[in-house]
Assembly symmetry: C2
Homo-oligomer: 261 residues x 2
């Protein structure tokens, strides 16, 4: 038996009451890890760089192991860029390379860049046209019920490549779940943490990190999933929200060559 532990924190009231999203977290843990995990999430919600939360919600649910799907973690590549403009150009090229139509890549990027406040979840946009496909507005679709299978092995794998921040730690797990969906062509994301300028493009082949995808100090972030034309959106949303996924650290030989960090 596993436990899904989910946290969301907001400022100025609950998310439902229009509060500003401060932080969120997702874990799948054992009974023994349950209470320490919830406590760590609480601590995190109370001390986030986006501000102090005045609303925190933690939900815990049992997950039967028989429902858990195992997938392999994406290899990570890192691309150094000098600023957000250069990063966005490179990310756009990566999206197109993954099969996103150039028009859709531009449209999607503009939608993410044009947000006035952060999305708690993700936008679904058409990989052909760039038109938004979901109707969840500012809430977006939250990816839930996933975690790394072996925490220690994952930390070793990440630090061995020079990655040691919590953003990438969580994003690689999330992106690995997202692009394992057959409906997804690619994901584009940059953080809502004002101190964290890096972002990524994830495809079924790799997680490509760009050192700058937004200017330092910007609190507006979010994620876009580029979706195949005529995909079953309900099926996709159910997978993203409800399918428990444990992400396995890739075997040694499949390690990214990590040419640059």
């Amino acid at each position: 038996m596993l436990y899904s532990v989910r946290m969301r924190a907001a400022q100025g009231g609950s998310h439902e009451a229009g509060g500003k999203h401060i932080s969120g977290a997702e874990r799948l843990v054992s009974y023994e890890q349950l209470r320490p995990t919830a406590d760590a999430m609480l601590e995190r919600a109370l001390s986030h760089s986006r501000g102090a939360a005045d609303f925190i919600n933690i939900t815990i649910e049992t997950i039967s192991m028989s429902t858990v799907r195992e997938i392999t973690c994406l290899p990570i590549n890192s691309v150094n860029v000098t600023d957000a403009a250069a990063g966005r150009q490179a990310a756009q090229a990566k999206l197109v390379q993954a099969g996103v139509d150039p028009v859709a890549a531009v449209n999607g990027m503009e939608q993410l860049a044009g947000l006035s406040s952060s999305l708690r979840g993700a936008m679904l946009v058409c990989a052909k046209t760039g038109a938004r496909l979901d109707s969840t507005g500012q809430r977006g679709i939250r990816v839930s019920r996933m975690d790394i299978d072996d925490e220690q092995a994952y930390d070793d794998w990440l630090t061995g490549q020079g990655y040691c921040n919590i953003h990438i730690r969580e994003a690689v797990v999330l992106a690995s779940k997202v692009v394992a969906a057959p409906e997804v062509v690619a994901e584009l994301c940059w953080s809502d943490d004002p101190e964290y300028t890096a972002g990524y493009v994830a495809t079924p082949v790799a997680y490509t990190r760009f050192t700058h995808l937004k200017p330092y100090g910007s609190e507006v972030g979010g994620r876009i999933f580029f979706i195949k034309e005529n995909a079953d959106l309900e099926k996709l949303a159910a997978y993203l929200k409800y399918q428990p996924v444990l992400v396995k650290v890739p075997p040694k030989e499949a390690k990214s060559d990590a040419v640059s960090r």
Copy 2:
């Protein structure tokens, strides 16, 4: 600044999805107490006599001290009865003494006794007719955002009278908030904990505990608030759900005489 910490736990899915209510808890605590309080609630949800929860939700919200209302804790009287039938008869007499119409006292008692599963919150019933006034069904109205002002003084006060279980500890705080509402004539409650047979009638004057109000082993409990005719139900529900209340331990001279325990 205070923090409202609320927990609800269910089995067989969330409450919203029709799961069976396992336990709930309400606290108003300082920043320092926040994390230990949430952790203690989690522990409690995981080890309740009603069963193991497979859904737990903890919500935390800041409460400005300026919005907090202070009220005095009800004195406690205890009435020994031999069984649930005798307890219910005595409780009915206490309700009538408090101003509940005999018809309404009988009707209310029958509604509580006739439940097939526990109510998470309370039923509002007319103190004149016994007719149910709220439309919250099996959910009931949950009393929220209250706590004891001085935990140590309260524990001393309770144990000095021979009360040391968590049920009475929480129920006296809740009942003190409830009967402080001008719309409420009295409250009748017995627990959903199968191991706890005692229950109580609370009036603006006292909390009267009956040693048996239901048979041992019964998992069905709930609470009824008897409401004055023509009361403003919306105002009452808002008070019960949202008004932060700190309950103060009564001064020494106001101590209950606690003739029997």
